[in-house]
């Protein structure tokens, strides 16, 4: 909403208040003033000129040499506009003027002819092109003959105005009109407001004799008022009216159309003007459209209607889409002499649906959608009739044609001052409350200590006690609300175990060298299930914005791979990222997909890089496996963890494992398949993804302190040659089983395949430690236990002991 302060001052006295101050007051009271627009943009030396002579430039076809009376002198100006003519009053920017865009006007010579200034178009004075009346859209602007040469031109064209741009919240549709703004500003400034005085002479003819009205859809159109004005002369509107419309962001057309728009802005009541003769039937019938019925609207577009769209007809065919846009067939044109003014109440739901379906939002529809003030339907029609009489020479037929079944009973709200104070945490007196409501012109009575309020129909946002609390608080000032803290049962607050453990996981992974990533949940159908631990029907958007973001993900790995590629392409060739987030699986009983939180990681490039000593280690499976083990250990879950070689689509068949906890699959880990790596421009890249929800749901065992050993442990190393097929895990399993309770740790410290080892075999070395917390072990005890281990390795694992 654009609010011209010049226009506003018709209704409320804002003299002596700087616009910035006014804007601040309005903002603090509840309507945000987004911008303060100075339409003059600081222009000076822009005056009225009278074109005394105008001849073609001898050297240039498109230029004219004009002798212009600018008051103090007659001066020569070269003008290139095609609509310049002798005898016009024009806008002249004199030498020294600075036009918007820091355009300095200087004396100049154009093809040998002196030019002392510039004759201006409105666009050159920073009026938006779409607001300039069509007649002047392509050339200079021509002022009325009454303009006096030499006078400041800016006030004549309304550029001495300051406009406040409101950023209205949806509840404050009352401020979609100048009168609504006046009520608000009046309340803020503790002033009354001046409503327009409506007086005009009615003709002896009666409107009802020439126009019949029938409403066949009263649910959607409970009130309709029509007035008839005859003998209008279509012409340009007076400048003051055009200026106000342009300030409000509306392009002037002709006096009749401009008047309907003017009243729309003034009262917030959309009006429509029909050419009576074009209606052709002397009848208006409002009804629901027939399915598939067509109408060509004012914008020359044919529109097909549905059976729930409300239309205005002449009894035969549609002449307007109710509340949205008029039809071309009944449009007011230059030859129009008799006008039907329509002022109606169309229900918000009906207009919203139609305007959405047709894809047409107009100044009218936005107001109907929010609900116009029932009390202004008649007043607005009268106001338009008055202006048509005054400005278009029309004769207003007496009376109106009205169908009115609209309930205009104000909403009654009863609220106790104590309740208001209680909710605000304040102590505002009853008198103060009454005074605020009085300023807002909200009719209130104090009855038995209660405020009994009849909410004005212009304020459709006032419905319940809380709305009154807000009115009082915002006018009293939020700055005056004290600062307290809630007095409630004291609660411990804090994270749930799940949330706390998730933080543990994040802290561990970051400590281990991974950066946290955050990617989109939406992905393409192709990527949605790639590398998924578990797949289920994908959750698909009804109306995706693109194929790439059309379904919800079932795995995080593809997103991390994308991030890896992104970084590698930017010469960040070492990437280590993790992400925790939801994947979305199938559909549960309540219709929602199951959301499962996962953790995933990607590593590629160098893991250790000590550049100047050339100590570099590339990432490998075991780096990531160590991170997984460490993460599980941080949750006290390392005991039940195991890895089993696996073949998974898109993964390296020899370097991939499923991750199990207590026999249940909880994740996968491994290298991306080389073909896939190549496709993604990646070198060796390792990923893991685990079901974090499942992991965090496992109850963490209590941390049990084990006394620091007081007795020394004894370590023994074993070197073995085993079949290449025998896994380290299997060997460790044999060792642990055979080692008995004295065996404390088993650590693989060497692995070798190649020269000096028989083909198909590998050499493995373990370091074992034996200890008893209660005493120092004897050699004999250790030998006994260790022999069992060696024996088991040879018999159970077919190992050959070395050295």
């Amino acid at each position: 909403m654009l609010v011209s302060t010049k226009w506003l001052s018709d209704y409320v006295n804002i003299e002596g208040i700087a616009e910035a101050e006014l804007a601040e007051k309005i903002t603090r009271a509840g309507i945000e003033v987004d911008t303060i627009i100075d339409r003059s943009q600081g222009m000076t030396n822009v005056v009225v000129g009278y074109v005394k002579e105008c001849v073609k430039h001898p050297e240039a076809d498109k230029l004219n040499i004009c002798q212009v009376d600018v008051g103090e002198e007659v001066t020569q100006i070269i003008c290139g506009a095609s609509n310049i003519a002798k005898g016009q009053k024009v806008i002249v920017a004199r030498p020294g003027a600075v036009l918007p865009g820091d355009f300095k006007i200087k004396k100049a010579k154009l093809r040998g002819e002196e030019s002392n200034g510039m004759i201006c178009s409105l666009q050159e004075l920073a009026v938006e092109g779409k607001l300039v009346p069509k007649a002047y859209a392509e050339g200079i602007y021509v002022l009325p003959a009454t303009a006096v040469p030499g006078e400041n031109a800016l006030p004549l064209i309304g550029l001495d105005d300051i406009v406040l741009e409101f950023d209205l919240t949806p509840n404050r549709s009352d401020a979609l009109s100048m009168l609504g703004v006046a009520y608000e500003v009046g309340a803020i400034l503790s002033q009354g407001i001046q409503l327009p005085e409506i007086t005009y002479t009615e003709s002896a003819d009666k409107a009802e004799d020439v126009l019949k009205l029938r409403i066949d859809a009263k649910a959607d159109n409970p009130m309709y008022v029509a007035k008839v004005v005859k003998n209008v002369k279509i012409a340009e509107s007076p400048l003051w009216l055009q200026n106000r419309l342009m300030a409000a962001g509306i392009r002037p057309h002709n006096n009749v159309v401009d008047i309907t728009n003017y009243v729309l802005m003034e009262y917030g009541q959309p009006l429509h003007a029909f050419d009576y003769d074009r209606l052709g039937t002397g009848e208006i019938v409002v009804r629901l459209a027939e399915e598939g019925e067509k109408i060509t609207t004012l914008d020359e577009t044919e529109r097909t209607l549905k059976s729930h769209n409300l239309v205005i007809t002449n009894g035969k065919e549609p002449v307007a889409i109710a509340g949205v846009m008029g039809g071309l067939n009944s449009e007011v044109h230059d030859g129009t002499t008799t006008v039907v003014i329509e002022s109606a109440y169309f229900t918000p739901g009906s207009v919203r649906q139609t305007s959405k379906e047709i894809g047409l939002r107009s100044d009218a529809s936005t107001r109907f959608e929010k609900g116009v003030d029932p009390a202004r339907v008649i007043a607005a029609a009268e106001r338009a009739a008055q202006l048509m009489a005054e400005l278009a020479g029309g004769e207003v037929l007496s009376g109106s044609v009205i169908v009115d079944e609209l309930d205009k009973t104000p909403v009654r709200i009863t609220v106790s001052p104590d309740y208001i104070n209680h909710r605000l945490g304040m102590k505002i007196s009853l008198e103060e409350m009454l005074s605020i409501l009085d300023r807002l012109q909200i009719s209130t009575e104090a009855v038995n200590g209660l405020l009994v309020i009849d909410a004005p129909t212009r304020r459709q946002d006032l419905r319940i006690e809380e709305d009154i609390i807000e009115e009082i608080a915002r006018m009293y000032g939020y700055d005056h609300i004290p600062m307290t803290l809630p007095v409630t049962e004291s609660t411990p607050g804090g994270l749930t175990p799940y949330q706390a453990k998730r933080r543990t996981v994040r802290a561990f992974l970051e400590g281990a060298g991974l950066y946290q990533a955050l990617s989109y949940s939406l992905t393409s159908k192709e990527q949605a299930q790639a590398y998924a631990l578990e797949t289920a029907p994908v959750t698909e958007l009804l109306m995706p914005m693109s194929e790439d973001r059309s379904v919800l993900r079932q795995s995080i790995i593809p997103h991390l791979l994308e991030a890896a590629t992104y970084n590698v392409a930017r010469r960040m060739d070492s990437v280590a990222l993790y992400e925790t987030g939801s994947v979305f699986l199938g559909e549960q009983e309540d219709g929602l997909p199951q959301e499962v939180e996962h953790v995933a990681a990607v590593i590629t490039g160098k893991w250790v890089d000590h550049a100047w000593q050339a100590e570099t280690k590339m990432v490998d499976f075991f780096v990531l496996k160590g991170i997984v083990e460490g993460m599980m250990d941080s949750l006290g879950l390392v005991e039940g963890l195991s890895f089993e070689q696996a073949v998974i689509d898109g993964m390296h068949p020899g370097r991939t494992a499923n991750i199990f906890y207590d026999g249940e699959r909880i994740g996968l880990i491994g290298q991306i398949h080389p073909t896939e790596q190549k496709k993604r421009d990646l070198k060796n890249t390792y990923v893991m993804e685990m079901n974090l929800a499942k992991i965090l749901a496992i109850e963490t065992a209590e941390l049990v302190y084990v006394q620091v050993p007081r007795f020394p442990s004894i370590s023994r190393d074993i070197a073995l040659v085993v079949s290449s097929e025998t896994s380290a895990g299997a060997l460790e399993h044999v060792i642990r089983n055979a080692g008995g309770k004295l065996l404390k740790t088993v650590r693989l410290f060497d692995l070798y395949e190649g020269a000096n080892v028989e083909e198909g075999k590998k050499s493995v070395a373990f370091s074992l430690t034996y200890a008893d917390p209660e005493r120092t072990l004897t050699d004999e005890e250790v030998v006994k236990a260790h022999d069992k281990v060696l024996n088991a390795l040879t018999t159970e694992a077919g190992a050959l002991l070395r050295g």
């Binding site: 949806p170 959608e369 803290l485 994270l495 950066y515 949940s521 893991w607």
Partner: protein
């Protein structure tokens, strides 16, 4: 015998003097004082002496041995020091060479902002509530006083899965779910999470972003409590010298509704490009829970009241760190994420 001893002593001392390093000196020690050395031999040979000479000779041998030992130790200390000095001289390094970086990662900046906010409210006795990202229209809109034809629904264009299910456009449905689950009991929660809107991604819009909201419901919750809570929060998050101001606004689920500005943390209120010369920065929306919302979730608005507030961690991070493009939060560029590693305490 005596002469022999003296000669031995002189010989030993000369060799000690001549030894140029620890190794040579140790050889001297072994040669003269070791188990197989001449002094030990002499002591062993004492048995052959007449009994009356033995104490005298014994004493003499000991004196000489102690004398040699003493000189040797002094010499040894000197040689050891010399050896260490030589070693140190060769071990000198260029301390200006770069250190070996400790491998580390860090929180995503949005997690950092969210956890900071969570931690502040946890210290005030709040709990963290979470909920599904794919949500029922009922919880996302209807339970929040946004019936199907409510005009305010125009404010958010949503990703629908079906007529009744959509990607949540706000974290507020978690509030509705929590209220429903708490069944009339008092509530103090913070709800962080991902939300989705049907926006084209550009520098200031993202179809996925994060929100964090708070809700307090109980008897006697007043608007002054909201103001006091937000004031503490602003000072904690943006600096103790911050001031707040509330401006009336509109949200369907609160009444009255406000927007909270904080005094600009860059210029302190004098006006700069961050606060667009106003001295104030809009940080969050808040208000008193609308009675319809309370009623729909099973609370009696005549008995209990509540306040709610919500903000966008992206906006907070963009303002606080000057991040110029919201897409940075979702491209996972290591050069971006790795900047948020250090403490700001």
């Amino acid at each position: 015998m005596e002469a022999q001893l003296e000669q031995l002593k002189d010989e030993a001392l000369a060799k000690i003097e001549a030894a140029s390093d620890v190794k040579a000196l140790n050889e001297v020690r072994v040669a003269y004082l070791g188990k197989k050395g001449p002094i030990t031999d002499l002591l062993k040979g004492m048995g052959k002496l007449p009994a009356e000479e033995r104490p005298k000779m014994g004493a003499l041998v000991n004196v000489i041995r102690e004398a040699v030992t003493e000189v040797l130790e002094v010499r040894m200390a000197k040689l050891e020091e010399q050896a260490i000095n030589e070693q140190l001289a060769t071990e000198s390094i260029d301390v200006t060479l770069p250190g070996r970086p400790a491998r580390t990662g860090n929180h995503h900046p949005l997690t950092r902002v969210v956890e900071d906010i969570e931690d502040f409210f946890i210290s005030m006795g709040y709990e963290i509530a979470e909920g599904p990202e794919v949500e029922k229209d009922y919880y996302n809109f209807e339970a929040l006083n946004l019936p199907k034809d409510h005009p305010a629904r125009d404010m958010q264009d949503s990703f629908y899965i079906s007529k009744d299910i959509l990607l949540r456009t706000q974290t507020s449905p978690v509030q509705a779910r929590t209220m429903e689950a708490k069944n009339g009991a008092p509530i103090k929660i913070i709800c962080p999470g991902k939300v989705y809107r049907r926006d084209s991604d550009d520098a200031t819009h993202s179809h996925q972003f994060t929100q964090i909201e708070g809700l307090v419901v109980g008897e006697n919750i007043r608007m002054s409590d909201l103001k006091g809570t937000l004031d503490l929060f602003a000072k904690k998050m943006f600096g103790t010298e911050r001031e707040i101001r509330l401006r009336p606004s509109f949200f369907p689920f609160t009444e009255p509704s406000v927007e909270m500005d904080i005094s600009c943390f860059k210029c302190g209120g004098s006006g700069c490009n961050i606060c667009k010369k106003t001295g104030w920065i809009e940080i969050l929306g808040a208000g008193m829970v609308h009675p319809n919302v309370l009623r729909m979730s099973g609370y009696d608005p005549t008995v209990v009241s509540g306040f709610a507030f919500g903000m966008g961690p992206e906006r907070v991070a963009m303002l606080k760190y000057g991040v110029e493009d919201i897409r940075h939060f979702y491209t996972n560029d290591v050069r971006f994420v790795s900047q948020f590693h250090r403490t700001e305490v």
